[in-house]
């Protein structure tokens, strides 16, 4: 393991720890967040729920970049990188959906029994996650590794193109309770400036955590690929 990786890993972990401490800071002079009706302390979810989506978007972009790279060079490592980035993106997407659902249940739907209400933002985000799940369904349907790499790379690029529409454009056209939708002010208008001090570092920190998980999985997948190649070579040698 290169020394550079160890430094980056430590930096991400320390950074995230500071973000967590900052996210709960209270009672001091600095970083006091305003206490709003309905939101109250749950406003702090901004530091956790929203970065899930930023991390997902960053990882889908990474996945699409490696998909393009895979089509250009036919390099199996690009295929691995593209696949793993999509996998971690799906995980962060599912975390974003569940945290959003819990948050909404105790704020918008307080006093009701609603956990999922097909709010446009919610539905579109779920569709987005499903589009990436379909990527893995497509992969599992193809046996030839080179064909699988090329076809799934093409699908991946199409999937990435839908991201801005499903997560930004469409929910803003429809009536939704989610901030940033029709009839609702966006993040920049309703968020107290002091929250940005933690919010932006939280976004960076979670992207860092996503990158750590991605790097681990890529190394694992590469080791598995090398082992498979050795096995295939042995198989060929015993045949001849």
């Amino acid at each position: 393991m290169p020394c550079k990786y160890k430094t980056i890993r430590l930096a991400i972990i320390v950074w995230m720890t500071l973000v967590l401490l900052g996210a709960f800071s209270f009672g001091g002079v600095w970083l006091n967040i305003p206490k709003l009706a309905m939101l109250e302390h749950t406003a702090r979810n901004l530091y956790f729920h929203v970065p899930m989506w930023f991390t997902m978007m960053a990882l889908t972009a990474l996945s699409a970049i490696h998909a393009i790279q895979c089509l250009r060079t036919n390099n199996p490592v690009s295929d691995i990188r593209s696949r793993i980035a999509a996998l971690i993106a799906v995980i962060f997407g599912i975390l974003g959906l569940t945290t959003g659902s819990v948050w909404a249940h105790y704020t918008w739907y307080e006093g009701t029994n609603i956990w999922w209400n097909f709010d446009p933002k919610q539905s579109m985000a779920a569709v987005q996650v499903l589009i990436y799940c379909a990527y893995f369904a497509l992969r599992s349907a193809l046996d030839d590794p080179r064909k699988r790499a090329r076809i799934s790379a093409v699908y991946n690029i199409f999937a990435f193109v839908t991201v801005p529409f499903l997560l930004y454009v469409l929910p803003r056209q429809l009536e939704s309770l989610h901030p940033g939708a029709e009839g609702n002010p966006a993040f920049s208008e309703i968020t107290d400036p002091i929250m940005r001090v933690i919010f932006y570092p939280a976004v960076l920190g979670f992207i860092g955590v996503g990158w750590l998980l991605y790097t681990q999985r890529v190394r694992l997948a590469r080791a598995v690929m090398t082992l498979q190649n050795i096995e295939e070579d042995e198989h060929l040698q015993t045949k001849t």
């Binding site: 393991m1 967590l20 009672g27 681990q216 190394r219 050795i230």
Partner: protein, 68 residues
């Protein structure tokens, strides 16, 4: 000394119970975060070991060709 310790524990108690017990959530989140961090490190070590064994396997399979 013991009275000092009891006083320190008492002040932790007030911090934890203050502000609608918000600091209890912080304590829980930090414990989870430390656990996840340790898991990330352990996984990295495992991958390191796997990679080095794959490397030795590869060098056994294809010994480096003598260029001369």
């Amino acid at each position: 000394m013991i009275t000092l310790l009891i006083q320190a524990a008492g002040s932790i108690e007030t911090v934890m119970l203050d502000n609608d017990k918000l600091m209890v959530v912080l304590a829980v989140v930090l414990i989870i975060w430390i656990g996840i961090t340790m898991f990330i490190y352990a996984t990295d070590r495992k991958i390191d070991r796997l990679e080095s064994s794959v490397k030795t396997l590869l060098s056994e399979k294809n010994p480096p060709v003598d260029q001369s």
